[in-house]
Symmetry: C2
Subunit: 236 residues, 2 copies
């Protein structure tokens, strides 16, 4: 089985996505928030791209998470801080969510064979699922407004390395090799490695260091969010 | 002065290119071939995107280089092997050139303040020029058919590291940080580092190891190809 890494949703159409499982990655913070939400008992989530749709879902009575540029949009219930999803108010609920990068990446990948959500919080669950499915894999980094970012690439590298070292996966893809090398450099202290990252600086300005440390924690939330039509649901 | 690295011509429009010098990189092999050509006395080059234009230039009596997928197109004079440009036949001549990736990257960057051609063969010349100009810099990796590739990223990392360490440049760009880290890993033996790269495998199949070793040689050709209207000319 082949592994590819796509560094930006903009480049997604260049990759083979037929008969391929796409892993959508937005470490800071949409994919970490979604993983946390399911771990905390959210029933379903509805990933949406536009604020217009978000307003419609709000009018229809849903709990709606809406984030742009790191902040909760006025009038909505949640942003993409994972800590917002750690309370009983979300348990059993359906939550619509739109974010700057992550939900856009989910949108472009809808034509794939299967779409799952990956974060450091569910790394081993993702690896186990991919090994069970035995299909080609495309790691889709959400990036920042279609640009490359480090933290999403590190996750792609972590998962790709495990699949290649421990299972029957391989790669001939330069971006996969780069992601693995970057992860090997960073893995002992990802927080420090990211200290020069533009996105980390952006979040730090918003005093969200606690979020970053949490989002870099391994296997805290062993659940598998998987796309099922318009919903994200909790996979087996 | 700010440094940015763009991993694919597809992403170029996302970057700030006003008041910015763009360094077009296609290590294997267009930017290495162009650097070699000027070092060997080519007078001017005309970078063109399409094979249609290439046929037109051929009809008009020009020497025309035309490469796709690593091979010289039938009926043309040269491909993008640097060794093709190391003979007296090209001296003083104007050569039109179209390649799979590199000349496409030149095409998208025409709206920048200045466009220069970077390769390991003229690394120090590029650095010296950028430091003299004192403008923001965007390293544009040609990649492979709009996908990320390792060798172009390594060159971007090498040049960015030198500009930041030795001169007054800085970066807040994740792709620049990634490129620098990859170069630091690879610099002692880039040929071995690239041994797993898909593009290197593609060239090796075509028995072009000699080209690769040459293209990874530092400062063999201290010239600066610079875009001047429709021509590439030799800068000061």
């Amino acid at each position: 089985m082949d592994i590819q890494v796509c560094f930006s949703p903009l480049s997604y159409p260049l990759f083979d996505y037929k008969n391929t499982i796409v892993v959508v990655i937005d470490i800071l913070r949409a994919s970490s928030a979604i993983t946390t939400a399911f771990y905390n008992g959210v029933s379903k989530m509805i990933p949406i791209s536009s604020l217009e749709e978000a307003h419609q879902y709000k009018q229809d009575g849903y709990i709606v998470a809406a984030e742009r540029d790191g902040l909760i949009i006025d009038g909505f219930d949640l942003g993409n801080s994972p800590f917002g999803y750690m309370n009983n108010k979300v348990k059993g609920k359906v939550i619509a969510i739109t974010t700057t990068n992550g939900t856009q990446a989910i949108e472009v990948s809808r034509n794939a064979c299967k779409v799952i959500i990956g974060s450091f919080l569910n790394l081993n669950t993702v690896i186990k699922f991919l090994n069970k499915e035995k299909k080609n894999v495309l790691f889709l980094c959400s990036g920042w407004k279609n640009k490359f970012n480090l933290e999403d690439s590190l996750f792609a590298g972590a998962a790709a390395q495990a699949l290649i070292n421990d299972f029957e996966f391989k790669t001939i893809c330069d971006s996969t090799i780069a992601a693995i090398e970057l992860y090997k450099l960073a893995k002992d202290d990802m927080f420090t490695f990211l200290k020069n990252s533009s996105h980390r600086k952006r979040l730090s300005k918003l005093e969200l260091d606690r979020d970053i440390k949490y989002c870099l924690t391994l296997n805290q939330c062993p659940v598998l969010p998987i796309l099922d039509g318009k919903f994200l649901i909790k996979g087996d």
